[in-house]
Amino acid sequence: MADHSGPGHPVPVPEGIDSFPLDTGIVLVWLGLAVLYLAAGRGAVLRGRSGWPVRRTAAWLAGTGLGFVSTGPLARAAVDSFTAHTVVHLVLGMLVPLLLVLGAPATLFLRAVPASVGRRYSRLARTAPLRIGTHPVVATLLSTIPLALLYRDGAALGLAHHPVLGPLLHLHLLVSGVLFTYAVVGVDPNPHRAPAWLRGSAIVVGIAVHSVVSKHLSSLAGQGAVPPDAEQAAHLMYYGGDAVHVMLLVAFCAQVYRAAGRRLGPAARGAGAPLPGSAG
């Protein structure tokens, strides 16, 4: 990340040397996450637990691959361009979390380790901070309020310039996105999963807040306080956000649909007597 001082007044600093350790670190973290997942999958097979769905591995690898937007040319462009910043926001804060959560890493981990390690993990998963942080209401507040405040007056880019707060903003996008996605469509074991109506409502509230924030941002465009490309960024945030939200809704509805099918049992599925007049 380049060292720019002060919001809205980027001081040109030669790229390269100063941002090199951070960039390398980010690349190694994402590569490491991909490799660990593949290693856990191999470990599970060695323990005789095969049959891991390919779509989960694909989701995880796609998620870690897209995680590279947090470094490289796009991240560098995001320092000055609100539109590029929005792309990073959409990918890192929404799409990557969805793909990582659908990869079910904890389930894979539990398949790969001995039962004693698994029990220790389960105790950790039940601790209060995780339990509270993954509650749909808390997760919705954590992922919407800071960003709503940040985009309220276009301060997001100013903060992204900051050498320490900039990377922390990216980390917040990713972590709050993962918490929210896990809270509403998490496939990993969750001892305190909220009821479906609460998870569905959290998604609806999330979409509504996203829509209001991006339209408000669009209203600021051309007023001088925000970067010149704020309107384009707001449109991208609105429609791009919709695209990821629809994927989230499909994942959520598919889970509820499958759960209802399991409750129905095989007898009632398709084999049941048709209702009177069901042909009409």
Binding site: S219, C253, A268, A273, G277, G280
Partner: protein, 160 residues
């Protein structure tokens, strides 16, 4: 969700009602999508954001936007659920869609446009013909839906 512990007759009525509800939800999603695609994107009659939109309009827009996406996706899965239960009644479902389209558009035209004065069909023109066409079309959809639902009920009683 209608539970299987209900008596069969009550269960059947609950599933009949659900056919209508699933249609209404899908109708809401369809009309919201048409509004977005035709009036926002193609005609540019509705603005993404006009600077006069009050805060209440922004919030109500956001809530409706979220609701319509949820309604679209959820109604398709509920449709699949009806088929899985062999409980799909196409006529009730279609009637529900028409009621959903008409009801959503009439609510938009009367409450959001007129009562709350949030935004209009079009800007910078004489609004009366547009309002009449908007709400007239909504009413036509609503009446068509209700008559389809009544016909479905009559057919049901005839069959006994």
């Amino acid at each position: 969700m209608a539970s299987s512990t209900q008596p069969p007759a009550q269960h059947a009525v609950a599933l009949q009602r659900r056919n209508v509800l699933v249609g209404v939800l899908f109708g809401c999603g369809v009309i919201a999508f048409i509004d977005e695609a035709v009036f926002h994107q193609l005609l540019h009659w509705h603005h993404f954001y006009d600077r006069s939109t009050p805060a209440a309009g922004l919030v109500s827009d956001g809530v409706f936007h979220a609701f319509s996406w949820f309604a679209t996706v959820a109604s398709l899965f509920l449709f699949a659920d009806l088929r899985r239960r062999s409980a799909l009644q196409a006529r009730r479902w279609l009637g529900g869609i028409l009621v959903g389209i008409g009801g959503f558009q009439l609510f938009d035209g009367l409450v959001q446009h007129k009562l709350l004065d949030l935004h209009e069909v079009r800007y910078g023109v004489d609004l009366l013909p547009y309002d009449l066409a908007w709400n007239g079309a909504a009413l036509a959809f609503l009446l068509a839906g209700v008559s389809v639902l009544l016909a479905a009920r009559r057919a049901e009683t005839r069959r006994g």
